[in-house]
C-alpha cells in the first residue's frame, strides 16, 4: 500500500470535517477522491500530508509513519497553487527544488511538460489562474516523485488545459506512478481513475474499483404504439426474465434495465413477438450526477 489512512477524524471547534475515515491506496492505482465541495477531500489530503493535525487516527505512507523523507517521494498540489508572487515561475520552482532536494536540471523539463517554458521568467503574480495551476503541476513533478497528490488539478483550466492535464495524469499513471486525485467532477474521476472513494459531509460513502462503484446500468425508455396499451406492455415485460426495475415515466412511457447479455434490439424483438408494437425506444445513459446522487443519498 502506498497510503493507509486509519480511522482518521478531524474536528474544527464544533464542526466535524472528517469522521472515522479508513482508506487504503494501492501502489500503481489512480485513486479518485470524489465528493461535492466541502465534503472533506482537501481535509483528508491535508491530514495525510501533515499540514493538518488529526483529532484521531493514523497516517502511513509506504508502510511507515509520515516523515519529511516520505513526503519527498510525493508531489503535491493541494487546493491552490502556493507560490511567491514576486518571484518568476522559474525562481519559484528553484525554491521548490531546494526544499525537495531535487536537481535544478529538471526545471526545463517540467516547465516544458506543462507548457510554461516561454513564460518562465515572468512573475507569478501576473499569471492567469490556468497558468498558476500549470506551474503548481510542474512543481509536483520536481524530484520525480513516485506518488502524485492532485487536488482539483483542472481548476481554472480551459477545456484544452483540462484535456492536457488528463493526458498527463494518464501518462504518469502509465509510467507506474500512483496518483491520488481529488475532484468534485465525476466525469474527471471516471475518465482517469482506477479506484474511487466517495465522500460526503466528512464521511466515506463508498470505496473501491471505479467499475464497481460508478458504472451502473443504462435504462431503456419505451413508448407503446397506439395499438398497444401500457398495461399490455407491462404484462409483456413481466414475461422477460432479463428485464428488471420497470418504472413508469412521463407521457405514458416505461423505463427498464436490461441485463448485460441483451441489447435494446433484443428487447424490441421480444416485445414484437408478444404483439407489442413500440412507437419509441430510446437508450438513456444514466447520468453521472444521478449515479452520484444514488451513492450519496
Amino acid at each position: 500500500m502506498v497510503l493507509e489512512l486509519d480511522h482518521l477524524s478531524k474536528r474544527y471547534g464544533g464542526t466535524e470535517a472528517l469522521r472515522d475515515l479508513t482508506l487504503h491506496v494501492p501502489a500503481g492505482s489512480v485513486y479518485g477522491l470524489l465528493g461535492p465541495n466541502g465534503s472533506g477531500k482537501t481535509t483528508t489530503l491535508g491530514l495525510a500530508l501533515g499540514v493538518l493535525n488529526p483529532t484521531a487516527g493514523a497516517v502511513r505512507w509506504f508502510g511507515q509513519a509520515l516523515s519529511a523523507a516520505s513526503k519527498r517521494r510525493v508531489g503535491v498540489l493541494l487546493e491552490t497553487p502556493n507560490f511567491y508572487p514576486y518571484l518568476s515561475a522559474r525562481q519559484n520552482l528553484q525554491v521548490v527544488a531546494e526544499v525537495k532536494r531535487a536537481p535544478t536540471s529538471q526545471l526545463d523539463e517540467v516547465l516544458e511538460t506543462v507548457g510554461l517554458r516561454n513564460r518562465q521568467h515572468d512573475a507569478f503574480q501576473g499569471f492567469s489562474l490556468g497558468m498558476k495551476q500549470r506551474l503548481a503541476l510542474a512543481s509536483t513533478l520536481l524530484g520525480q516523485p513516485e506518488v502524485l497528490v492532485l487536488d482539483e488539478p483542472t481548476n481554472g483550466l480551459d477545456p484544452q488545459g483540462i484535456a492536457e492535464v488528463r493526458t498527463l495524469v494518464q501518462r504518469l499513471a502509465a509510467e507506474g506512478k500512483t496518483i491520488i486525485l481529488a475532484s468534485h467532477l465525476l466525469d474527471e474521476i471516471e475518465k482517469v481513475c482506477t479506484h474511487v472513494a466517495v465522500l460526503q459531509r466528512g464521511q466515506l460513502r463508498a470505496a473501491g474499483a471505479v467499475r464497481d462503484i460508478l458504472t451502473s446500468a443504462d435504462r431503456v425508455v419505451l413508448r407503446p404504439g397506439p395499438a398497444s396499451s401500457l398495461q399490455a406492455l407491462r404484462e409483456a415485460l413481466a414475461q422477460l426474465p432479463w428485464i428488471s426495475d420497470v418504472q413508469a415515466e412521463a407521457e405514458g412511457r416505461v423505463s427498464v434495465v436490461l441485463d448485460s447479455a441483451h441489447d435494446p434490439a433484443a428487447l424490441n424483438e421480444a416485445l414484437f413477438r408478444q404483439g407489442i408494437v413500440l412507437a419509441g425506444l430510446e437508450l438513456r445513459h444514466r447520468s453521472l450526477e444521478s449515479q452520484f446522487l444514488a451513492l450519496t443519498s
Binding site: 500530508l49 493535525n53 513526503k71 502556493n82 525562481q91
Partner: protein
C-alpha cells in the same frame, strides 16, 4: 538547502532591499547630523565621534532602529502564511522545525547585516570626523557592537514570535510596536523595580545603555537596569525561549 531556498526568496524581493537600505541610510544620516545637536547653547561637535566612546553612543542610537529590522522579519514570516508557502513547503517535505530554523537563519543574517552597518558607520565617522585616535582606542570598546548584535537578535526573535503567533503582518507589526512602546512600559510601571529589569524590552535595552548612564546614576541614584554583561545571559535565554515558542506555534494546522 533551506538556507539557500531562503536566499532565493530574499534576494529578488524589493521590500528586503528597501528596508535594509532604509536602516543604513537612517542610521548614518542620524549619526552624521548628531554633531550639530545643540545642548546648553553648545554644539556637540565632532568629539562625539571620538574612539572608543563612539561605539557606546552609536549602538545606543542603533538600538532605536531595531524596529525596522523587526518589521522586515515580520513581513517575511507573515508572507509565508499569506502566500500559504509554509504550508506548501511542509507538503514538499520540509519539517516545521526546518522552517523555524530557516527563519532563525534569516534573523541571524539580519543581525550580521546590522552589526556590519554599525561597524561601518562607526569607523567612517570616527576616522573621518573624530579627533585622531590614540593607539588601541578604535578597538577598545568594540564589545559594545557585539552586545548590540545580541540586542538586535533579541528584538528580531520577539518579532518572529509575534509573526508566528498572529500570522498577519499588519497585526504582528502593530503588536510589536504596541508591546515595545505601550504594553511592556505599562506593565513594568505596575511591578517592583527588582522584577522590572527582567522584562524583555527593558532587558534587551540594557545591552546598549544610555551614554553617560553612570553619570546619571550618581546624580539621580541607580536606575535599576542591569549592566550589559549582566543582561547578556538573560538576553540569550530570551532568544532561545522566543524561538522555542515559535516552533510550538508553527505546529498548529497550516
Amino acid at each position: 538547502m533551506l538556507f539557500r531556498a531562503e536566499l532565493r526568496k530574499l534576494l529578488p524581493y524589493r521590500t528586503v532591499w528597501i528596508l535594509l537600505a532604509l536602516y543604513a541610510v537612517l542610521l548614518a544620516g542620524f549619526v552624521g547630523m548628531s554633531s550639530g545637536t545643540v545642548i546648553n547653547g553648545q554644539a556637540l561637535g565632532n568629539t562625539l565621534y571620538a574612539f572608543p566612546g563612539v561605539w557606546g553612543k552609536l549602538t545606543y542610537v542603533a538600538s532605536y532602529f531595531n524596529l525596522l529590522l523587526g518589521i522586515l522579519l515580520i513581513i517575511l514570516i507573515a508572507d509565508e502564511f499569506q502566500f500559504r508557502t509554509f504550508r506548501q513547503q511542509v507538503l514538499n517535505g520540509a519539517s516545521r522545525a526546518e522552517l523555524v530554523q530557516s527563519k532563525m537563519g534569516v534573523a541571524l543574517g539580519l543581525t550580521g547585516y546590522a552589526t556590519l552597518v554599525v561597524l561601518g558607520v562607526g569607523l567612517f565617522f570616527g576616522l573621518t570626523r573624530g579627533p585622531e585616535a590614540a593607539p588601541g582606542a578604535i578597538t577598545a570598546e568594540l564589545g559594545a557592537v557585539g552586545l548590540y548584535g545580541v540586542q538586535a537578535l533579541g528584538y528580531l526573535s520577539l518579532a518572529a514570535l509575534l509573526a508566528f503567533a498572529l500570522r498577519k503582518s499588519g497585526l504582528a507589526i502593530i503588536a510589536f510596536l504596541l508591546y515595545s512602546w505601550v504594553v511592556e512600559p505599562l506593565v513594568r510601571s505596575q511591578v517592583p523595580d527588582s522584577l522590572d529589569r527582567y522584562f524583555p524590552g527593558k532587558l534587551l535595552g540594557s545591552l546598549t545603555p544610555t551614554p553617560g548612564q553612570e553619570l546619571l546614576d550618581t546624580v539621580a541614584g541607580p536606575s535599576g537596569t542591569l549592566l550589559p554583561t549582566q543582561a547578556l545571559p538573560f538576553a540569550l535565554a530570551y532568544i532561545a525561549l522566543f524561538w522555542g515558542l515559535s516552533y510550538l506555534l508553527l505546529r498548529r494546522d497550516l
